[in-house]
């Protein structure tokens, strides 16, 4: 029996045939085809809500395009880079990108440093940790419009902050001062988003083995040394995520300049690309130039995110 079994063993070719067909199937459908079914709704959602509009925006940005009533057919001639030239030679557009850069330079470091420090502090089991966690998280879950109302009262000419500062209050006041408007927005956004980033860091901190802290203590590290040599490297992947999310959030600023500084004021000092996209596409019905600004913004965010990933060493984790 055993001989016959041995002799009946199929040659190598016949053995590999079913493997090949399996791998083809696997290549097409994956090891768990059911996963496709589960992920399909989100893939469709992404395709319809993100991929299609983005593709359409790219197409519009290369054409002379206006929104028309349905069934009104007009030619949309290809105009090459004309919309990009119009956008990038407009001083208001260039100013808005510069404003965004100023925002990112202030907001991103504040966000990263404060959220990691506060998360580390909360993780050490300080008293009232839960109360602090809630306090940090409340602004994140509160509607921006309501919070902006509060900040307007705080930072307006006769607001609480200026009353406290007295003669040290800036003139013109915070939100109408061309040098302080964007930094004010950057600080507001950092404060509002902090709770979410602290949460990300708290999750990352759970993954750092306690033995590392013990070893650092044995080696003579103090609190600062442990934070710098164990905590910071231990949450590196979270830092990359926070960096990228903060960049994306900052590049998409709209509500704050629209409401807090009254439409990107003073004199365009807090105007952002998204605010201009809104004005040009929806108010002035120039979706072609607005799309060009949008595409440039996506490219800029992509480059900055890739840089953040590289600087943070995110690619090493893969």
């Amino acid at each position: 029996m055993s001989t016959s079994t041995t002799s009946q063993r199929p040659p190598d070719d016949t053995f590999t045939e079913p493997q090949r067909s399996r791998s083809l199937k696997e290549r097409l459908l994956g090891k768990q085809p059911l996963g496709l079914v589960f992920s399909a709704p989100y893939v469709v959602f992404l395709a319809v809500v993100f991929a299609y509009p983005f593709g359409l925006a790219i197409w519009i940005s290369f054409h002379d395009y206006i929104f028309t009533a349905p069934n009104v057919s007009v030619p949309h001639p290809f105009v090459g880079l004309q919309n990009y030239v119009t956008a990038l030679t407009d001083p208001a557009v260039l100013r808005s990108f510069l404003n965004t850069l100023i925002f990112l330079v202030i907001n991103v470091p504040i966000t990263v440093v404060l959220s990691i420090v506060l998360a580390a502090a909360l993780n050490t089991g300080i008293r009232w940790a839960s109360a602090f966690r809630v306090a940090f998280y409340v602004p994140y879950v509160t509607a921006s419009v309501s919070l902006i109302g509060v900040w307007l009262l705080l930072f307006s000419q006769g607001g609480l902050i200026n009353s406290i500062l007295g003669p040290l209050a800036p003139d013109p006041s915070w939100l109408i001062n061309s040098k302080l408007a964007m930094p004010s927005i950057a600080i507001y956004v950092a404060w509002k988003q902090l709770g979410f980033y602290i949460l990300l860091y708290l999750a990352a901190l759970q993954a750092i083995p306690k033995e590392l802290y013990e070893a650092a203590s044995i080696d003579g590290s103090g609190t600062l040394g442990k934070f710098w040599n164990v905590t910071v490297p231990g949450v590196r992947s979270a830092t990359v995520l926070v960096l990228i999310l903060a960049i994306i959030t900052g590049a998409n600023l709209f509500t704050e300049p629209y409401l807090l500084t009254n439409g990107g004021g003073p004199d365009g000092a807090s105007a952002t690309p998204v605010l201009l996209i809104y004005q040009k596409a929806l108010q002035q019905t120039n979706p072609d130039v607005a799309s060009a600004i949008g595409v440039v913004l996506v490219i800029a965010v992509g480059i900055l995110s890739a840089l953040a990933n590289r600087v943070g060493g995110g690619s090493d984790d893969e």
């Binding site: 929104f67 009533a69 069934n71 007009v74 030619p75 009254n262 002035q284």
Partner: protein, 429 residues
Amino acid sequence: MKKRTAITAMVGATALLLAACGNGGGGGSEETANTTTGPITVWFSNNEQELAWGKSVTEQWNKDHADQKVTAQEIPAGASSEEAITAAITAGTAPCLVYNISAAAAPQWERQGGLIDLKTFSDGEDYLTKRSGDLLNGYKGQDGGLFQVPWKSNPVMVMYNKDLFKKAGIDPEKPDMDTFDKFIAASQKIVSSGAAKAAIWPSPTSEFFQPWFDFYPVYIAQTGGTNFVKDGKATFNDDNGKAVWEFFHTLYADGVSPKEKSNDDAMGTGAAAMQMAGPWAIASYKGKIDYGFMPVPTKDGKTADETYTFADSKNISMFTSCKANGTAWEFLKYTTSEENDGAFLEATGQMPIRPGLEKAYPEYFKANPDYVAFASQASRTVDVPNVANSVEMWQDFRNKYSASVIFGTTPIPDGLAAAEKSVNDLISQ
């Protein structure tokens, strides 16, 4: 630029074709389309009094036209009516008529192929000319098309709080503030006396429509009724425009007009002693403050009956998505008849755009003397120019004005020249 004009022409032609074929039930002609009847939907603004009038007049119409039922709705919520209407045109969900059209937005909706030229109705031009007289000319498109019915105006005047004037030592019955110098001096008195935090608080925000409530009424008054654009060119880069920019710049520089937006109703709370307002303000402030109205100031002063101002009109347009143009046109005429204009005036205090208001509705003005000044002012108004790229043009102007006048970062002559160039460039596109 020529390409854009060509596109606009093609959109217009297609829209006309659609208005003719799409609604004509196979008739294939404008005339057939324009006589099609059936149920329609109409949008009104969310102003409480306007909406009440709209629902009332619709109810009356429906009693007599069972087969042409009109459904009255508020304009859907949005950052502004204009954005909601632009979105509706693009999506094909615009109603037959909207009673809240800004003259600045109409040209771009025409360009989108969203509006019907009312001249295509056999009695269109005749009816509108009879109703509005020469005032109609200011609302015609660049090619003479009638894409909006001038419906009602809110002539802008200076509203003031009599109690705060008294506190500041200004005679509230005879403020004597008709010149720029007198206006500035009185404003300084209001603030320095502690009567109010601000003498006048024009919104310093950057929305495209803000010039209509600070610069433009004063410029129109200063020039005796000159439009922002004349013969395809910006008009404001001259001594008159410069005087008006300098006037407002002084108010901001002296601190009598705040550079920050008021967080609440500055006039209602007494934070400001004056504001630019139309007759709508009477209903809003009646019983809350003791108010008076005076014409907007000019450099050397003008009497009330020779002062022009901004009309701040809102108009009616018919949309190409309409399936029953005949009903829409008849309803439009019904709601703008002398009788229903009177009912509108009675309900809202806003001025129907028809000549001789005081003679047409003597009983109303006898019973409501507060509105008499506005009725007189309504015959001396100028609206925004009916040009393409209107919103973009006003936005550019506002940006330059803010830099020079409000924040003082650009010298006024430079700002005026830059604004003129920008406006001329946009008009020529």
